[in-house]
Symmetry: C2
Subunit: 480 residues, 2 copies
Amino acid sequence: MSKGLDHETLNENVKKVQYAVRGELYLRASELQKEGKKIIFTNVGNPHALGQKPLTFPRQVVALCQAPFLLDDPNVGLVFPADAIARAKHYLSLTSGGLGAYSDSRGLPGVRKEVAEFIERRDGYPSDPELIFLTDGASKGVMQILNSIIRGSSDGILVPVPQYPLYSAAISLYGGSLVPYYLEETANWGLDIKNLRQSVVQARSNGITPRAMVIINPGNPTGQCLSEANLKELLQFCYQENVVLMADEVYQQNIYQDERPFLSARKVLLDMGLPMSKEVQLVSFHTVSKGYWGECGQRGGYFEMTNIPPQTVDEIYKVASISLSPNVPGQIFLGLMVNPPKPGDISYLKFVQEGKSVLESLRRRAHIMTNGFNSCRNVVCNFTEGAMYSFPQIRLPPRAIEAAKKLGKVPDVFYCLKLLEATGISTVPGSGFGQKEGVFHLRTTILPAEEDMPAIMESFKKFNDEFMEQYEDHTGYSRM
Amino acid sequence: MSKGLDHETLNENVKKVQYAVRGELYLRASELQKEGKKIIFTNVGNPHALGQKPLTFPRQVVALCQAPFLLDDPNVGLVFPADAIARAKHYLSLTSGGLGAYSDSRGLPGVRKEVAEFIERRDGYPSDPELIFLTDGASKGVMQILNSIIRGSSDGILVPVPQYPLYSAAISLYGGSLVPYYLEETANWGLDIKNLRQSVVQARSNGITPRAMVIINPGNPTGQCLSEANLKELLQFCYQENVVLMADEVYQQNIYQDERPFLSARKVLLDMGLPMSKEVQLVSFHTVSKGYWGECGQRGGYFEMTNIPPQTVDEIYKVASISLSPNVPGQIFLGLMVNPPKPGDISYLKFVQEGKSVLESLRRRAHIMTNGFNSCRNVVCNFTEGAMYSFPQIRLPPRAIEAAKKLGKVPDVFYCLKLLEATGISTVPGSGFGQKEGVFHLRTTILPAEEDMPAIMESFKKFNDEFMEQYEDHTGYSRM
């Protein structure tokens, strides 16, 4: 007789989950690393793992919060600046017992207030701390909202394709249906509203009702920044279709061009005025893991709810209570991110310089990478306008596709595995994000150290061009 | 037309969740606190919120890990001891990029190895780090395992009643059925195996198949320590019934008597030998939130799997990957908990003395509280053998029950609300944990500062005895 945790008796939704970012490629890369091979992990947006240094000021503040006894130490001023000491005292005063005490399940009220003030400065509209919930990273918030919306397989969630696999995985886990809408690669991964409407018609004809729509802005894995016109169109769509908008805006600080600055879905919605500004249900997500912070391991994030009824907010609060509270150090990081040092503070100049240096380098790396990919045979790549990824299209020759099929591999998995074995570069195949039929991509982060970037791109080009040479049809030549 | 996050259209399982620990009583207490009333929060086991100081050594180590630039500062030795500096270097060497980098989704391999060594020292049997997953607190691990097991409402989870509401809440959220088995208050909250078997028969007759069984040892809210004989019986039961055992052992360091030391379910299982030791599926949970650590806000925990098939372990790994990684500082706390300072280390004596002082004081507080409750009119209370709670039975007079019903309140909620208004003591009504029909309890932690304890118990007694005076039947007197 089978047991509760035997594989055949597990929850089918758990088994259906696919999660490519840490899938076959990642597992093979980990094996190779164990065997002593040098691996360049570009599969996850994990900047510190690739050498990015943490910002000094926030780390000083959180270190002091962890060691509050230092605040009474006469030598503390020798190793910590006065403004970090003052900020640590401020955050400790917002807790009820320091970092070791559970906070309210929505997060510390004082930090939620700082988040609301940040949102107001950013968007020009007031924000209510009671509608902001802090989370252990943005992913946990996304999962909680999806779990609240999805009742069964006839509930559809509109997800951009290519998409970040958090969405497909969580939708599978909660038993809903993913309704893909394709981004237009030839229009720099823009959103085509006609395409979106077709997806809805298609879903309805399959008995699926779209109840929410995800946007990722700037895009992951596609790197585009949505224009104001695009955001207006899609908000209009959400209004007409009664669809909740889930705005994944975790890369809002990662912008590498000046034509299209980041605009929050919330600002655009409120700019559109009544009746829409009071009607469209919107949940917006942000994190300390990205931007010039990259504090992934600290797991700090928040979501803000707009036009969500109070009874629903109460239900979300109740479910958040089951796991008691998000981690408190991560909440402090979030407070520091939304309320950084100000001009005149002792640490201001150093903080600004550290952040600027990260972002400027990322902008240069975005260019190096896009140019590098576009110099390769059968590779075309849009510029990374924002976020942390490059998503080149790899035009695999028919013979490469056949070779992959013989091995029972998806063609882009075949390509990425060969790339990994040849160069140590660990990427994620485009099939893990979804792509149009017969078109192949890979995703890589733009995070390797700037000084390593030329060598990495050279190594990629050498592999790719040899691969293409090997698999392209040379029958023309052989006939000669 | 209704929208995706309107209350009436939410996932019904979300709406069904009940979570009393932060329910009506907690909300009312928070309101009163806002109005300026002094509240003694004894509703959650949150020691630092009630004044318990963090252990110095682990905080020093984690502070240094947060501020790695201090390791090169010539003044660091003025504020941190050498062994904390060495330990910080050790943990940083286990990360790939410090605390700001995501770890493997199962947690840092080096910390999982330290956990395995701790388990081996504790139980006398080797433990495999590949079967240990680190989590953001134990609750998250419990939720993940339940989500893996539960397929629908015909899947039953055996849960002790009174129970910790994490279990009832998570089972509702995932759409399973809670199958209660009652603990015996008159046998110091021991587990009666006949009662357990009756629960199974009852569940089966309702079309529910028990697939897992939860034990909480030491008990929450009941405070009992399970005897070896009890553990053997229930393991035998799990073997016969093909039921996964989920052993919530988060209070394993909180023991306040010497007759029944903590025994892990895993040790007892492996002691029982073949075939059981290779057959019973067991998942054991632990945390940094309890013990003499009480580092609730850091959200560090782990679960260890015994006799779980590798394919299932892979599925659990995949689902853990969706939210990328548990918070890394919490993982370091866990490493420090399972690998504390050793005799001869600079910080050893201070560390041991701090821990001992917490535990000895908790033991004294357990006595003060039990004795205090037992001195009250119509209150009887078992001694808190372990964990952090006291769970007195309140024998409510019929007129109090009537008065509650008139207000539409559950009788123990009525009592606890009156207690809160009169004294500021914020407890959780027994109905939030489950109790036998017509019997009433409350749960309080034993965590208020030892010096405040006599006054708290006096204030409780004054309220209780007046309440009983008010609601007891005095018709005998009035006839005189």
